[in-house]
Symmetry: C2
């Protein structure tokens, strides 16, 4: 019985999502290295093994350590934090570890401090402008390759990008355009270096691009993560359908305010995270309530959105025609805006895995 | 040595903040029942005992259970979640527990299911419109008092409000106005019921109002929480000074992008939370970088703000004149937007308590 905010994971939907992306990778002859920051769970991780997945991506050395008991090939897709060199050496002794480098300083530091052979990707900025090197800056790329080449410990694996700017798109066409532009940029770098490094690969990784596009020309590896659960952000940019969203937060109703068509739920920023999206027809939303359905949840209820969150409270707008259906003590199931953030917030709390 | 995102708590500043609020409560002859959702720490809680604090506020039954080993008088300032009746009975057997009621349904449920005497406050909405009963709705208040009066287990403690609308204020004058209006509304309810319930009290509780105002006419108890740490939200609404902010998040620098005057830190939404504020002169910010200072942190560096957060990354804008000062491997200390949310995000991670 659910009595407080509880994350629900629909295992059947997850397996379908994993199968879909796994088949896509096979169809395009791509290495499938899913990003595990989305679920951060050994148990969910095991579901991927049935689809032949052997290599994974994470976003911190802490996560790499957590997964290293069951996974022996891990890329930490985050600019290497040189302060954690001890953890890097501990992991590199045990597993095939790949790091991300985007400066001569980090390459030099690693060259001087690595104790075991460690792979690295050079991070390329293909338009998101969060991290990475401009594809035009071959001088910096050359410097990094020169410094790392002298170390005897650093193995150059290839170029990696994350076209996170697809998250700002609002249509599948826009996503495809951003994805294609990103591919054009990173493969232009590949063509400059492939003679010198014939084994290097190109790794790309955002869920919108990997969900929507069928163009992976010149790409060798994909690293999507969010697709295992999807969420409202992905629904509204066209990357998934309602039926593919595989997580919901179950929240008790603690107050009903008929005079303003609102209910108050036990479920706030510490559960959902404060991630928000602005939808033209709805304004800023923090979640969307679903219809009741045995053993899971149904479709989103039109007009029934989480309109604000404080630390432990959520305020849900309810259409006037439905407000009489809700009572204190009910538990409602809410699709989150950004599943990675919600799952991370809830990771120390009970999860219920539903198998139909 | 700090090697990853780490929450720093400046104990000396906390003690000064606690002393300040404790003295204010004494000056106005108020019960001081601080809200512990801000720190959620037994250790920080103990600091309050030296100032004579014996009663506390929390925002979930889970927190009440956590603190019940050291605190015997706890108000759960959240509309009672009747689904957790077992936890309520477990706690009410052990400590003096107060709940919040704002509906006849909850009062009736508690009347039927409580095993031990439990206090309750009726929550009044004095303008925040998140939870609570309109002060004009004496019919509903009467109904709740009638239903709870028949139970033999429910002790009416008084009326409680949280003027959370002070958080939307941008000046001390605005805060004072909202605070005074809120007081006017809740004391109007008091005057209607004091003859029948001479021992009942009025409890108010937001940090901005309690920090700024010297008007507590008709109030018996205050429940501020955030003031123990303060944060940028409180700084920008005038509730505190820079020197009073007692928490900072220490984050490693993992990339420096001179071409766009930005640094990338290891420190993202999972560490800061995604709480944001819009400051007219700065736009939307997620944190503010401070000057380096031995054993703690200095003043905010003008123009050096966290402009965006993803799951693990933060992007910091740096004035062009300062960018050459920052290197990969540096650790910078950042004031959070909302300390309650940041501390909650970081609660499973190392904290360093600084004593000068």
């Amino acid at each position: 019985m659910i009595i407080k905010p509880t994350l629900l994971i629909d295992k059947e939907k997850c397996l379908k999502n994993i199968e879909m992306m796994s088949k896509k990778a096979k169809r395009h002859n791509l290495i499938f290295r899913p990003h595990f920051k989305t679920h951060q769970s050994l148990e969910v991780g095991r579901w991927f093994k049935n689809f032949g997945v052997e290599r994974i991506t994470v976003s911190s050395l802490e996560m790499a350590r957590y997964f290293s008991c069951e996974w022996s090939n891990i890329t930490v897709a985050f600019p290497v934090n040189i302060l954690e060199i001890e953890t890097i050496n501990e992991l590199a002794e045990k597993i095939s570890l790949n790091l991300l480098v985007e400066s001569v300083g980090s390459a030099g530091f690693l060259s001087g401090h690595l104790k075991y052979r460690t792979g690295f990707f050079i991070k390329i900025d293909t338009g998101y402008h969060r991290t990475g090197i401009s594809p035009a800056n071959t001088e910096l790329i050359d410097d990094i390759l020169r410094v790392s080449g002298t170390s005897g410990k650093l193995d150059f694996k290839g170029f990696l990008t994350h076209a996170g700017n697809t998250y700002q798109c609002r249509t599948r066409v826009e996503i495809s355009e951003v994805h294609d532009r990103s591919l054009g940029m990173i493969t232009s770098v590949k063509s400059k270096y492939k003679d010198k490094f014939p084994d290097m690969i190109i790794s790309v990784g955002d869920t919108p691009g990997c969900s929507v596009s069928e163009n992976f020309e010149g790409v060798d590896e994909i690293r999507p993560g969010n697709f295992v659960f999807y969420d409202l952000m992905q629904l509204y940019n066209g990357s998934c359908s309602e039926d593919q969203i595989a997580v919901a937060l179950a929240c008790p109703v603690v107050a009903v305010h008929k005079e303003r068509n609102e209910i108050v739920i036990y479920g706030g920023g510490v559960h959902f995270s404060k991630e928000r999206i602005e939808i033209p027809s709805k304004g800023i939303i923090y979640g969307q309530v679903t219809e009741e359905k045995y053993g899971g949840w149904g479709k989103p209820v039109p007009g029934m959105i989480v309109k604000s969150l404080s630390q432990e409270h959520g305020i849900v707008s309810v259409p006037a025609s439905l407000i009489q259906n809700y009572r204190i003590g009910d538990v409602i199931k809410i699709l989150p805006v950004h599943s990675c953030m919600t799952v991370s917030s809830m990771k120390t709390t009970t999860k219920i895995l539903i198998s139909h």
